[in-house]
């Protein structure tokens, strides 16, 4: 009897196993996916000049990290922006070669004499992916969602917060990001294809920041806007169950989404770019994006020939390069990247809730002396970091602007070469002394401090250990603290109880004014001493003034002059001690044609024109 039971149990087990396997495979639901109507080519179609190719290939790629939403008003993640950017489009875009603002959904624009009014002329005859016409109403609707006010249910009046500011109905990143010194820009529809923005004051980056907003479809979202559920729209559930409800103007629409596994995009049959023959682009039929944990696994997938395009981390280039022949791909060095790594000392003079100073007063004295910061900067072996940590695939970073941003980069700033003599000379100037190879300050206190950085970034952990050794050569004891990212942010932006910190920044908008929160003394990310009521030092006050000018002037050469001075002051004062900037590497499978990579646009800037023979 028992044998039979055992056999039954085994059979049952196998059955369950197979069922799970299959249920995992086949969870397709009965689709009621509407077929997208194909409308005639738009009047203002854009013809792109690449040799004609063949339609129908599928493209494989990886996305680092999962998405949490497809709603641009809610999205916080990089993966989310990448996905949304495939579907939605904006009035203007950036030239992949020189970084200038160029027409996109708007075919042209005018800026008034006083630099306050921006009039955009939209392309005529463009349709949303579901066949609905795209007009100025969509643009106005998009901006309405940013600035809609919350109203008191009883009186119907706009609600105000304790500081007399209006309470917004949908708090999105754009709501506060598009405010200009706390005031809203005005938007009005002139006719169906013309829309005009008026900024409350001269605001140079508006063309890029305002024109770069992704336009939402009014015909899809206006009901949700009215009944208050706008932020719940286009959620992951929509993406899973009804992906066709997410409608866009860019080259792809969402075909399917499986959390943690993959996102599939299908070609938008109503896209507004055409090839030389007047055929509607893009050539690609489908984009299959596999969701991976991190950059490393993404690089692995490419190196195994599984994906078509990839940006490769500098420390992975060595081994990815080896597969070029076997899997027939190309690896290109695109020069410097936008990423920066830096460290800073806590210059916050305040006290904590118990009245104790945030930084011990004698240490505060060292940190706030610019000669101390300069001496530290001279003491860092940046070349060694590049050689050891980055396998020779990074550049020394001298200042705030990465050399990638050629136009804004100021070559003439003060540079700090690796020289322990210069460091020691600066320390001597400050009255510091050496005893038993240890550094002591003018009050005979040993010089030591702690440096924190995030533990989940391997390269940064290595850089921090190199820094510790460099400082040991200067006779300074550094205590390293590797913390979770959350703890770091809590310390740098809430409690301010730390001595020094090492972090990095990547990307960011290409306008210098995008750095105002870091550079201006009142900024939330003015790392070394954030949200000052009034600039604490004359040089910070000067930077504040210069940045205001950078925001106010529309002539790029004048702006550049001001921004050059900002960079020079930062280099002299070293509130942020910059380390290195890794290089950008991209790889692409050789089966693709029309590839013309640029440092700014990468490989996929002309995705609509890329084609390959379909398998």
């Amino acid at each position: 009897m028992f044998q039979r039971m055992f056999r039954q149990a085994l059979l049952l087990g196998l059955l369950i196993f197979l069922l799970t396997l299959i249920s995992g495979c086949d969870r397709e639901r009965a689709e009621e996916r509407p077929k997208l109507p194909v409308l005639p080519l738009p009047l203002d179609k854009l013809q792109v000049n690449f040799p004609t190719g063949v339609f129908g290939a599928n493209l494989s790629e990886t996305v680092p990290g999962d998405i949490a939403t497809v709603n641009p008003l809610v999205n916080e993640s990089l993966a989310g922006s990448l996905v949304i950017g495939r579907i939605l489009d904006s009035l203007v875009t950036l030239d992949p070669v020189d970084g200038a603002v160029i027409p996109n959904l708007a075919k042209s624009w005018e800026i008034s004499e006083d630099s306050l009014q921006y009039t955009f002329h939209l392309r005529e005859g463009i349709h949303w992916s579901d066949g609905h016409s795209f007009t100025a109403e969509d643009v106005v609707f998009t901006w309405q969602t940013f600035f809609a006010k919350k109203q008191d249910e009883l009186t119907g009046e706009n609600m105000m917060d304790s500081q007399g500011r209006p309470v917004y109905r949908y708090n999105s990143r754009s709501t506060f990001g598009q405010l200009i010194n706390g005031q809203e820009p005005k938007v009005e529809m002139i006719d169906l294809h013309t829309v005009r923005f008026t900024t409350p004051e001269v605001y140079a980056p508006f063309l890029l920041f305002g024109g770069g907003e992704e336009i939402l479809p009014k015909h899809i979202l206006q009901d949700a806007f009215k009944n208050g559920t706008l932020m719940d729209q286009w959620s992951v559930q929509t993406a899973i169950n009804e992906p066709w409800k997410i409608v866009g103007l860019n080259m792809f629409v969402l075909e399917s989404y499986r959390p943690g596994e993959r996102i599939v995009f299908a070609r938008n049959p109503n896209y507004w770019k055409v090839n030389e023959m007047g055929e509607r682009l893009p050539y690609v039929e489908r984009v299959i994006s596999k969701i991976v944990q991190d950059v490393n696994s993404s690089n692995v997938a490419f190196a195994q020939g599984l994906t078509d395009f990839e940006s490769i981390a500098p420390d992975n280039v060595a081994w990815v390069r080896r597969g070029q022949k076997k899997f027939d791909y190309t690896l290109l060095d695109m020069g410097p990247s936008n990423s920066t790594n830096f460290l800073w000392f806590n210059l916050n003079p305040g006290t904590n809730s118990e009245g104790k100073p945030l930084v011990m007063p004698h240490k505060s004295k060292w940190f706030s002396d610019k000669r101390f910061r300069q001496a530290i900067s001279h003491g860092i072996n940046r070349k060694g970091i590049i050689r050891g940590v980055y396998f020779d695939r990074a550049d020394i970073l001298h200042g705030y602007v990465s050399p990638k941003r050629k136009f804004w980069y100021n070559e003439a700033i003060r540079k700090y070469e690796y020289s322990t003599e210069k460091s020691k000379k600066l320390f001597a100037e400050m009255g510091f002394q050496y005893r038993d190879n240890k550094l002591y300050d003018f009050e005979n206190r040993q010089v030591e401090f702690s440096l924190m950085t995030n533990s989940n970034n391997g390269l940064r952990v290595e850089m921090a250990t190199v820094f510790k050794e460099n400082m040991a050569d200067l006779g300074i004891d550094v205590e390293l603290q590797f913390l979770d990212f959350n703890t770091i942010v809590t310390k740098t932006s809430d409690s301010f109880e730390y001595e020094a910190c090492m972090l990095g920044l990547g990307g960011g908008a290409p306008d210098p004014y995008a750095g105002k929160d870091i550079l201006m003394s009142g900024g939330r990310m003015h790392f070394w001493n954030p949200q000052q009521a009034e600039a604490a030092t004359p040089w910070e006050a000067r930077i504040d003034e210069l940045m205001r000018q950078v925001g106010r002037h529309t002539d790029v050469n004048i702006r550049k002059k001001f921004f050059n001075e900002v960079q020079a002051i930062l280099a002299e004062e070293q509130p942020l001690i910059f380390l290195v900037s890794p290089k950008d590497f991209i790889g692409y499978s050789n089966r693709w044609r029309n590839i013309e990579p640029t440092p700014l646009g990468g490989v996929t800037w002309n995705l609509e024109s890329l084609w390959a023979e379909p398998e």
Binding site: L21, D26, A68, F176, R262, S297, L306, T490, S493
Partner: protein
């Protein structure tokens, strides 16, 4: 029997209450919350952060948050994941079957290998084979799972025979049905090995001991003296009885199902529940952590209960009522 099961299930209630409260306290002790990383982005304003904080009730003390959460759970609502913006039940539902599949395949894998090996080691007791297999079992028991997983990744990278990470290939969706099955199986091999090898060793040792115990039993001597062929004795009489206690091991396997695969899932990047849990703790995605803790805990209790029931069922000498 039923009262016994009910009594055991009743103990779950204070347990779950205590554990979720502990989880809440621990998470409130950890600095920051799931919004903290957002603060580090340069184009997010203070106003937006404050607005979201009050929306989620993050600005309230932990006991008020806990009270609210408890109210929701009693109404069957496990809350939303902040990181994924999905209902927690749905999120866990997506991941749990991947972990289940992995645990199940490693269970089958280890049993299929361990039982024959254990039997052979018992039959050829004290032979070279027995000694070698005992030594290997020792080694397999002592090797940390994550190190084994790391070696397997190394192996896969060097040979290119197995995919690194994930549960399916990129073009999975466009494969034939058979192709899909094969693809999944291909991705399952390494995690199954990493998870299964340790349990092969322990099951093998139990099996060997049981088998040796049973061989000494009276009925074996009777059967042999009746002139039954030795192979029939071994496989019909002895094996059947020796495998009995192993049935309860199935229950224990169930209890460790969810937490057991954590390290392997992380190293091999297998998108299961363990990985979800780990990331949720790091991100402080509270409701996901709470739901997984509750699930893990319930599985532990259910698994142990099942083990007891199976044991009683397969061995009439054991009575549940007295045991507690």
């Amino acid at each position: 029997m039923i009262s016994f099961i009910l009594r055991r299930l009743m103990t779950l209630i204070p347990l779950l209450l205590g554990i979720t409260m502990l989880a809440f306290i621990l998470m409130s002790l950890a600095p920051g919350d799931f919004l903290t990383p957002v603060k580090a982005q340069r184009d997010v304003s203070v106003e937006l952060i404050q607005a979201i904080e009050s929306e989620f009730g993050l600005d309230q003390p932990w006991y008020i948050q806990y009270y609210k959460w408890l109210g929701n759970v009693l109404q069957g609502n496990l809350g939303h994941s902040w990181a994924y913006k999905l209902p927690v039940s749905e999120l866990i539902g997506q991941r749990i079957w991947a972990t289940f599949l992995l645990s199940f395949s490693s269970l089958i894998f280890s049993w299929m290998i361990a039982i024959p090996l254990g039997v052979l080691a018992a039959i050829y007791k004290d032979s070279i084979f027995d000694r070698i297999s005992a030594g290997l079992a020792y080694a397999a028991l002592s090797i940390p799972e994550f190190f084994l997983a790391l070696i397997l990744v190394f192996f896969a990278a060097q040979t290119g025979l197995f995919p690194l990470g994930g549960a399916t290939s990129i073009d999975y969706e466009y494969m034939s049905f058979g192709g899909k099955l094969l693809d999944r199986a291909h991705h399952l091999i390494l995690p199954t090995l990493a998870l299964g090898i340790g349990s092969i060793a322990s099951i093998m040792r139990i099996m060997r001991a049981n088998f040796i115990d049973t061989i000494r039993g009276g009925f074996v001597i009777t059967a042999r003296s009746k002139g039954v062929r030795e192979s029939v004795v071994m496989f019909k009489h002895v094996l059947r009885n020796a495998i009995n206690p192993l049935i309860s091991a199935f229950g224990f396997a169930l209890s460790g199902l969810l937490s057991g695969a954590l390290m392997v899932e992380i190293v091999l990047q297998y998108p299961g529940l363990g990985q979800l849990m780990y990331q949720s703790i790091l991100r402080e995605d509270q409701f996901v952590v709470l739901a997984s803790v509750m699930l893990g805990c319930s599985m532990l209790v259910f698994g142990n209960l099942l083990a007891d029931i199976l044991l009683a069922w397969s061995d009439p000498r054991i009575r549940l009522e007295r045991k507690n």
